[in-house]
């Protein structure tokens, strides 16, 4: 193993940045200070946004939020290693990555409010974003389906000889889904240029990873598909970046897919609809709080003399302003036009939908119509 990554296909867990902000002996961060600052800022913004959105949901201003509390290093580290031409298939906890890839905060919040400016045209639940401009796919609720899509996308890049690597995220629960099986098997057979990341955050709603599978590790599953498989500390930004970077380089060189099991922890409930007290003891959270991915990077930056409380205050203050404005704008924006209900079912509006549309536009409105 080198400091830059791991070429071992084993159940060893790659670790670089310790919880106290120091570096494992013989390792190196693999990122410049400026890069780490950039990623730190993105992680902090992601977490602030998470907290704000939970509040908005509690206030009844948005319907739902599903966040990435505690998983920021996994999400942002893997997104960060992707090159501009690369393509990302999200699960549903990765809005932070969409923002990192160029989706605007406003556009994301438009989705959270399901307004008429939302790129998904208010058709999907909050956090079910789409961001083609950021080379970021469309979030779907059914677990696992995006894995096979990502493999098909990567395969099509290989068939067309495009130097594009495809990234896909999914949870530990998703490894039980049919589409994990299909996606991994196709990835192995066709040796597609993809990075498949399992955010092993310990839970699938109320079911712990041990209730999901009896395998010794999740990475082991990848090997049984003939896919190179590695593990890293998912709360260690440097380890995530190192593992991800090597995977992208390999895929780009035609050396096939990598399956990365990132060991992290879901610090919140499953979503704003969930109350984890029904199934999880608070004790379990404690050790993970000590492994917080953001605090760790901050400690390293402070050690480098590159960060301090003042900068935090500045970051938080300016993001707060930015977020408030975007929320206000998203909340005020008009709902989607009624007629848009019928668009995009097909490329062209067919006769039966024209008829249904016209009837709706003519007809009575629900009581208390907004």
């Amino acid at each position: 193993m080198t400091a830059q990554g791991t070429s071992s296909d084993s159940d060893d867990v790659l670790r670089i940045l310790r919880p106290d902000g120091t570096i494992e002996p013989g390792r190196a961060p693999g990122l410049t200070v400026a890069e780490v600052v950039e990623l730190y800022r993105a992680m902090v913004r992601t977490r602030m946004l998470d907290e704000r959105l939970v509040m908005l949901q509690r206030q009844g201003r948005i319907g739902f939020h599903i966040g990435s509390l505690g998983e920021e290093a996994t999400v942002l580290g893997t997104a960060w290693v992707m090159r501009p031409q690369d393509f990302i298939f999200p699960c549903y906890r990765e809005f932070g990555a969409a923002l990192l890839r160029g989706m605007t905060l406003q556009s994301y919040l438009d989705n959270m409010f399901g307004n008429g400016r939302d790129l998904a045209k208010g058709r999907q639940m909050p956090d079910h974003i789409t961001a083609r401009g950021a080379r970021f796919g469309s979030v779907s609720s059914p677990i696992g389906t995006q894995i096979t899509h990502a493999v098909g996308y990567a395969w099509s890049c290989k068939l067309q000889r495009q130097d594009v690597v495809t990234l896909v995220w999914f949870g530990d629960g998703a490894t039980s889904s049919s589409e994990f099986h299909n996606g991994m098997n196709f990835a192995g057979v066709y040796q597609v240029p993809a990075l498949l990341v399992c955010r092993n955050n310990g839970w699938a709603i109320s079911v712990p990873t041990g209730g999901q599978t009896a395998s010794e590790s999740i990475a082991e599953k990848g090997r049984a598909y003939g896919v190179r498989s590695v593990r890293c500390d998912g709360n260690d930004l440097f380890a995530v970046v190192a593992a991800g970077r090597e995977a992208v380089a390999r895929a780009s060189r035609g050396e096939g897919p990598t399956f990365l099991e990132a060991l992290t922890y879901r610090m919140s409930g499953h979503s704003t609809s969930d109350d984890p007290n029904a199934y999880r003891l608070d004790d379990e959270l404690e050790p993970w709080k000590k492994r917080d991915p953001i605090a760790r990077v901050r400690a390293w930056l402070v050690g480098q003399g590159a960060w301090d409380d003042g900068l935090d205050a500045e970051l938080e203050g300016s993001f707060d302003v930015e977020v408030k404005a975007a929320i206000a704008s998203a909340e005020e924006a008009a709902r989607p036009e009624l007629s848009t209900l019928f668009d995009d079912v097909y490329a062209q509006l067919p006769a039966h939908l024209r008829e249904q549309r016209d009837q709706l536009l003519r007809g009575p409105r629900p009581a208390g119509d907004h």
Partner: protein, 324 residues
């Protein structure tokens, strides 16, 4: 009798039957420790233990496939699918195996089970937490399909479904999980399958609905009354096999038919009901039957109240049909 909502009534029905019949096993995602994301199975694991109330991996095909094997060995599985939108990974098991096992084995085996799953819109669930896929199961020979609209029926129909020898899809309308409340008898009772209920008598139009939309149909019927039109409202309760006699008696009487459902119109169950009523009551029809349904689009998020066939869309259908 106790006042309960739908969640409590289904929970009570499960409890009553599980006490009576030790072969019953509840399994699914998050059903045990958490008691289900809607808390329908809350407390069951505590009462019946880890061998009878089981959290499974995230795999609907696995849940239903395993239930088939259990049923073949004499257990009575009651698998839960967390949302009926997520039943499709199990669709092959349901359509190819559950529905056909008795037939293809010449009656040697059966896959008696009750698949419980929340259905329908109105909870701001968007594409994948709102759909109503009933017609995709009614088309498949060998399945029974049930959808209660109130706590009393929910418990009684569930008990009947569990005792029925055939596989039953038990759709629970999630929009009214907590909103629909009513008196529920204690202990053990059945509401027979394949028996519709005339919940409002009327003379001029027959309105057929089920699940959450029943309340919209009733509301529209009340409003129609104010406009001088008398509508009879039928709660279908069991979608398949259908209670043809109750339906055709009503349609023969009124000569007019409005069918309401949340699912998209095209190839929805409304088309079948209309066609069946034509076969039975064509010469009694004074106006073309009307379907008031979800649109032929995926289920939307922001515009869901515009998408659903609520009272404001049912009312004009009743009035127009009555005035033909």
């Amino acid at each position: 009798m106790a006042r309960m909502n739908m969640v409590q009534a289904v929970n009570d029905g499960l409890r009553v039957e599980m006490r009576r019949d030790s072969r019953i096993v509840v399994l699914g995602e998050d059903v045990a420790k958490l008691g289900g994301v809607f808390r329908v199975t809350q407390g069951l694991q505590k009462e019946f233990g880890e061998d009878r109330v089981i959290d499974t991996p995230l795999a609907e095909g696995g849940i239903i496939g395993a239930a088939v094997g259990m049923a073949m060995n004499g257990l009575v599985p009651v698998p839960e699918i967390q949302f009926s939108d997520f039943i499709f990974p199990a669709y092959d098991q349901i359509v190819s195996e559950v529905a056909k096992l008795r037939y293809r084995s010449g009656g040697e085996f059966s896959s008696k089970m009750v698949i419980r799953t929340p259905v329908g819109g109105g909870i701001r669930g968007g594409h994948y937490h709102s759909q109503s896929p009933e017609s995709l199961f009614i088309h498949v020979a060998g399945l029974k399909v049930v959808c209660p609209s109130n706590p009393h029926d929910a418990k009684g129909l569930l008990i009947s479904s569990i005792r029925d020898p055939d596989p039953v899809l038990f759709f629970e309308p999630k929009r009214i999980y907590r909103a629909a409340k009513g008196e529920v008898p204690e202990g053990d009772y059945e509401v027979p399958l394949s028996s519709a209920a005339v919940v409002r008598e009327g003379t001029q139009v027959t309105v057929i609905a089920w699940g959450a939309m029943l309340y919209e149909a009733l509301e529209a019927a009340r409003q129609a009354e104010a406009e001088g039109v008398s509508a009879e409202v039928i709660d279908l309760r069991t979608l398949w096999p259908i209670d043809l006699d109750t339906l055709s008696a009503s349609v023969r009487k009124t000569g007019r038919l409005v069918v309401v459902h949340e699912a998209p119109k095209t190839c929805g169950f409304g088309a079948e009901i209309v066609s069946l009523m034509l076969e039975r009551a064509f010469w009694h029809l004074a106006a073309p039957p009307v379907r008031v349904t979800g649109f032929d689009t995926p289920f939307p998020y922001t515009l869901e109240m515009e998408y659903l066939p609520l009272a404001h869309r049912i009312l004009p259908a009743i009035l127009e049909t009555a005035r033909v």
